[in-house]
Amino acid sequence: MTTITERSRTTTTKAEQALRMYRQMLAIRLFEERVNDLYTRALMPGLAHLYIGEEAVAVGVCEALRKDDYITSTHRGHGHCLAKGASPDRMFAELLGKEAGYCRGKGGSMHIADPATGNLGANAIVAGSVGIATGAAFAAQRLGNGRVAVCFFGEGALGQGSLYEVMNLAQLFRLPVIYVCENNLYTEYTHFSETTAGEILNRATAFGLEATAVDGQDVRAVHEAGSRLIERARRGEGPGFLLANTYRYTGHHVGDIAREYYRPKAEEHEWKMERDPIKNLTKWLLEQKLADSAQLSAIESELTVEMDKAVEFAVAAPYPSPEEVEQDVYA
């Protein structure tokens, strides 16, 4: 066995952990609000798929991971990358195609990757990273480095056959991989019930995976369920499948504004008012007297400054020079 890098975040108390998750969820929300702003002001090229509403899933799961554990992410990936430790300034720089970005501007919003935080990459092919995550778990097992891999994907990926191929492989080889299905109810512009036969969890239990469903708006519940699957996988007890039931507050992408043809406004309103992961955690923190509102406001002010600075950095950062276009095609 090789030496295990100690987890960077050292959990001391439940309160500290809850506050850390609060801060991280809020960071993602504020980040995404600025993405929306940059995009609508035509400062951001390409496409932007916002994670607003789903923050508890990435944060709850990543809170249970070590820095050297692996994740793979999706086209809606900003939240996963930030929760795994990416820095907002280099994220924004990548989103704007700047050289200071994580991928030197070559990946963009849908392809953030960062070896330093174990981020194997966001992927713009739906289910495109299921093999990569499973392979990282395979390497971790063979190299005996104690790492696990978490594969985030939306429920749209349930339609791809490759997911079932790798779940079969993962269970056969008892790989330390956890498949996290974020069911935000909509596969682009179509309700998942129109594309998904049977029960989602059965698709994982059919292969013998340990499978659990969780309220994806409750970060503490996500963390608890995620931790159990992650630690189980780390002990060599095999792969897991976490179904996180969540909701995408905004459109499939920024610009998907007229949404009534596929979902009612009342539904959006209800999720935002009743089931917001940040509001609900705030309420719990206050009720439990683990934080007071001044403390939470201070966190928000701090993050606001940080995010605004990160945007400023990215906007001012230079583009890559044209000769970089042919760099890194081959290693």
């Binding site: 692996y70 793979t72 970005g101 994580y102 991928c103 030197r104 501007g105 070559k106 990946g107 392809h111 990757a113 960062d114 070896p115 194997l120 990459g121 992927n123 092919i125 495109g128 990273s129 299921v130 093999g131 990569i132 995550a133 499973t134 392979g135 990282a136 778990a137 395979f138 390497a139 971790a140 063979r142 190299l143 480095n145 891999a149 056959g161 490759s162 191929e165 790798v166 079969n168 492989l169 056969l172 760099q327 890194d328 095609v329 081959y330 290693a331």
Partner: protein, 331 residues
Amino acid sequence: MPEAAQREVTFAQAIREALAEEMRRDATVCIMGEDVAEAGTPFKVLSGLVEEFGKDRVLDTPISEAGFTGMAVGAAMTGLRPVVDIMFGDFITLTMDQMVNQAAKVHYMSGGRWKVPMVMRTTLGATRRSAAQHSQSLHAWFSHVPGLKVVLPSTPYDAKGLLKTAIRDENPVVFFEDKMMYKLKGPVPTEEYTIPLGVADIKREGNDITLVATSSMVQVALGASTLLEKAGISAEVIDPRTTWPLDEKTLIDSAKKTSRVIVIDEGYGRYGVTAEIASVIAEGAFYDLDAPVKRMGAMHVPIPFSPPLEDATVPTENSVFEAARALCNRN
């Protein structure tokens, strides 16, 4: 080329030796595919490897080409050097997302931060009476994609030296073996050697016409050149050995010397390897050519089963001989 008085081994054994030597040299090299362990593949190319290296490193997988190829991509990114076995080249169609959208692009999309040092070994070639789904030569498909390297060995010596290099390469390399050539014998030294990718080999020197041939077509071109010799035509036979990187200089220099060129490849000619090489030569040697560059590939039909029909689909010694004679105005 190897010195005289060497031992002769078959093409299959050369492949096996390359794998065994690299697996002894580097503990991160592993093999995965269908029936690669005790069965040693239907072609028996891998026989004996599982006995030496164990089932952890010679891994039998389910019939899930997309799944285990994807797994290899992730494993390659995180510390292993997988060699994936795709039994018939026709089955690469099932791995296209993993190779084209993932393996080929990971390094570039991540701004050079993740690497994918993997090899995909697969087969090509007709005339085995295997019909339309087990007989294609689809190497042009991968040659088309930036980020991949494509190797086409034509002798046991080349197969061994090129495969060792491919395994050590930091990029995804696709290695096509002619399934009809596995029993072909040729000299292979006992001492260690490697062959760089991107260096063509002059298999036979000549002055009147250049026959550029790949993989299965090299022996055909050499046979044709013997017939041509008897007809008073001196043919030079050049094997590019890799379609990417492509040794353009050696091809162009030979064309300039002989002034006539036929490009022979078992893939389909239409938008294929022969088209690309003919174009490279036409651009690079136009003013030295005495005839248009001629292309010879598989007929534009699905490979038929019936032997006389199948035999009509691929270039032969005689068809190349006739075409060369015509090009030299000697018929």
